[in-house]
């Protein structure tokens, strides 16, 4: 039977489809991305990153590797964390197309999407078959840091979570244990709630001070607001009344939390109200504090991982390596503070290539390497990362570390996310600053609530209610 030309073509097409489909199934997302990106060889992509250590990844690893594989050059533009939102909106407002790939802080994603700065990614995800590997991202990051009202705008790329780090040697010391039990009636262990935290911190300060204090955290408002958001919810607080959209942060819970925090400060080194991340880290690494709650790099750096690399040469030596324990903070629902997702700028002139780079970086294969870079600031965020045998054996305790991170990725709490989140956070930061300045807690909270209400009124109660409802309905918005 002579096959008509049409039939031949149809047949060829079918065969082509089938074979490429099976190829797609066999290929990893990273490979697919590289293959597809080769057609853009010779172009340049600009990636927007937080300044400091973060860009070391694209500068030293992912950028050069990508160029080698695809012929696309990666150009990096950096900005300090608190400048990132500004810079992105600035470029968007002027439609400059200066950035192709963006690092987006997830709780700012609604604002950026609303302002038209981000490109929807669902089509690309489907086209390049990325849905499978997306399923491997830790639940909490996948479900909460990638979409705005159902549309995907970013690929969750960083497992930021505020874990508790404590001095195992102190907690496991028999004298400390018996003394503590005698006084408080329960075993000395990482605190399960904030009352225990206060008990333990007080006891350690009493018995070991002033050489060692019970705890020390980063109190600078920019950092502490995340700790507050978590503790407030753990103690039962809600940010808003879902129906009236009035702020309820000045409730009894809010006051209790503020007063409890002030009580905790008694068991921390003097001057702690001024501490930023570095002071907190330094104190813990020096052995001056027994507990702290902070970002994942603390867990790696205090154990000495990566301390021999050039990029981390500015860190002082850790004196507590080997004695660091990892746990979930009191309440068991750590704050997923900050974090990053990879997005594509809506004004980019190379959207497809930009997406492919993002997919490649975020893929199982490449992300596993990226989170293990000694100078990496990207924290594990995929199930495969937590389970990776190589990572788990990188230092004594690395397995506990990864287990704690994984637990956090299940129970963690989301940063508050609304329209113009930054303004609400700004008011919160200011309130915290006032607390350290010893103003009356109730007054501060009432002012904060009224500032939030003013903002809501200005933005539009109905719009905000809708967005808040969307956020609050996520499983990780409030502890269950």
């Amino acid at each position: 039977m002579k096959l008509s030309r049409r039939t031949l073509l149809a047949g060829a097409a079918t065969i082509g489809l089938v074979s490429s489909a099976s190829m797609a199934l066999a290929q990893s997302a990273a490979d697919i991305a590289v293959e597809a990106a080769k057609q853009f060889a010779g172009t340049e992509l600009t990636v927007f990153y937080e300044a400091g250590l973060q860009p070391l990844d694209p500068i030293n690893f992912s950028g050069p590797l990508w160029e080698e594989l695809t012929g696309i050059k990666i150009n990096i533009v950096e900005a300090p964390l608190d400048q990132m939102f500004t810079k992105i909106i600035q470029e968007t407002k002027a439609a400059t197309g200066a950035y192709d790939i963006l690092n987006v802080i997830p709780n700012q994603m609604p604002d950026l999407a609303l302002a038209g700065a981000l490109e929807p990614l669902d089509d690309y995800i489907e086209r390049y078959g990325y849905a499978d590997e997306i399923a491997g991202i830790g639940d909490v990051y996948r479900n909460n840091q990638m979409t705005v009202e159902g549309v995907t705008y970013g690929l969750a790329d960083d497992g930021d979570v505020l874990l508790m780090y404590y001095r195992k040697d102190i907690f496991e010391d028999p004298e400390m244990q018996s003394g503590f039990k005698a006084e408080f009636g329960y075993d000395l262990a990482p605190p399960a709630d904030w009352q225990q935290f206060n008990d333990i911190a007080g006891y350690i300060t009493k018995t070991m001070g002033p050489d060692v204090y019970g705890a020390g955290m980063h109190f600078q408002p920019g950092n502490f607001q995340y700790l507050f958001q978590e503790r407030f919810r753990v103690e039962g607080g809600t940010f808003f009344d879902a129906d009236t959209m009035r702020a309820t942060v000045n409730s009894e819970v809010g006051l209790k939390v503020f007063n409890d925090i002030l009580a905790d400060i008694e068991h921390m080194p003097p001057g702690v109200e001024q501490w930023g991340f570095i002071e907190m880290l330094n104190a813990f690494m020096d052995g001056q504090t027994a507990m702290t709650i902070s970002w994942p790099p603390v867990g790696r750096w205090t154990a000495g991982y990566g301390s021999d690399t050039e990029a981390l040469s500015w860190l002082p030596e850790t004196t507590v390596g080997g004695d660091v324990g990892y746990a979930l903070p009191p309440g068991g629902t750590p704050e997923l503070a900050i974090g990053f997702s990879l997005s594509v700028s809506s004004a980019s002139e190379n959207k497809e290539a930009a997406y492919l780079f993002a997919q490649w970086m975020n893929s199982e294969e490449i992300s596993l390497q990226r989170v293990q870079l000694p100078f990496a600031m990207r924290d594990p965020f995929r199930a495969s990362h937590y389970a990776d045998p190589e990572y788990r054996s990188r230092w004594d305790g690395a397995d506990e570390y990864l287990d704690a991170l994984q637990a956090g990725s299940v129970s963690g709490l989301l940063d508050l996310s609304l329209i113009q989140t930054d303004r609400y956070e700004e008011a919160l930061r200011q309130a915290i600053g006032r607390l350290w300045a010893k103003e009356d807690p109730q007054t501060i909270l009432d002012d904060l609530a009224s500032q939030w209400d003013d903002l809501t009124d200005r933005i539009g109660v109905d719009d905000q209610r809708r967005v808040y409802a969307d956020w609050a309905s996520k499983p990780n918005a409030y502890p269950n």
Binding site: E50, A51, G52, L53, N75, I76, V77, E78, A79, P80, L81, D82, Q83, K87, Q90, A94, A95, T96, A98, G222, N223, G276, F277, I278, N282, D286, W295, P297, S313, W314, L315, P316, E317, I338, M377
Partner: protein
């Protein structure tokens, strides 16, 4: 006053003078010290006053990572804009000083251009630069600093030029010199000290600018003040780099102050009266 009395007086004043110098220099010393401390020394508590050794690693890192380019960027943008502003501004000042071009209100308007707080016009300027494709370019920043410093140059040089006796110029005309030549060969030498003083301060204004550079650069033309603020991170504060970069940024200024000091003082005394 007796000779002995004034000698005592001089000694007292010298002592006070030294105290002043120490007080003003001390923070700069602290910054220099931190730029050569080891990481352990930087984070030591209580703080280390005298570093045990001079560890130049921070400087090395700035050179290796290319951060030191930002000092170069500052030099280029501040330097070239100063030159352009001085040339255009001095000629403009001559026109206003000698010919009263535009009348008194005109010179008032020129001065008022300098009064504008940077933040007020930062975003419109950004939009302007976007449409002219000048964002994150040397030309863009140079243009901006030139335009921003011109009013100051015109204002200062007008005063200096007015101090030059007009007879000098008139006799030069009689001698057959053309107008340009008169300006270049007669007026300029007379106001040389004023030129230096104004140039130095114009350079300083551009050199120290932060807000414009922050808004109008991305990565190609970052200037050194913007770079320094980038070292204050959310999960790291690179005090060592902050110290080293600050010292590098100060070096050209040390040089300027040291060599130009004579001219600055003379220039200011001449022009200050006229303002």
């Amino acid at each position: 006053m007796s000779a002995a009395g004034s000698k005592n007086n001089t000694r007292k004043r010298l002592a006070l003078g030294i105290i002043c110098a120490v007080v003003f220099f001390f923070p700069i010393y602290w910054l220099a010290a931190i730029s050569v401390k080891t990481p352990d020394e930087i984070f030591a508590y209580p703080p280390v006053w005298l570093p045990k050794s001079i560890d130049l690693n921070n400087y090395y890192v700035l050179f290796r990572d290319g951060d030191v380019w930002t000092v170069f960027n500052s030099l280029v943008t501040a330097g070239i804009s100063t030159v352009i502003a001085m040339v255009l501004g001095t000629f403009a000042a001559y026109s206003i000083a000698r010919y009263k071009t535009g009348g008194p209100n005109f010179s008032m308007w020129i001065i008022s251009q300098r009064m504008v707080p940077t933040i007020c016009i930062a975003f419109p300027v950004f939009l302007l630069f976007v449409s002219l494709k000048l964002v994150d370019t040397y030309i863009g920043l140079i243009l901006l600093y030139t335009a921003f410093n011109l009013p100051y140059v015109i204002w200062m040089m007008r005063g200096y030029i007015q101090d030059v006796p007009i007879e000098l110029e008139q006799s030069a005309y009689i001698d057959g010199l053309g107008r340009f030549q008169v300006i270049l060969k007669v007026v300029f030498p007379m106001v040389r000290a004023g030129l230096f003083a104004t140039a130095v301060f114009t350079f300083i204004f551009a050199w120290n600018d932060f807000l414009f550079a922050l808004i109008l650069t991305r990565s190609d033309v970052t200037t050194y003040p913007v770079q320094v603020t980038g070292y204050f991170g959310s999960q790291s504060t690179f005090w060592g780099k902050i110290g080293a970069m600050s010292m590098l940024g100060m070096l050209p200024m040390f040089f300027v102050v040291a060599t130009m000091q004579k001219y600055i003082v003379r220039g200011m005394s001449m022009g200050a009266v006229k303002g």
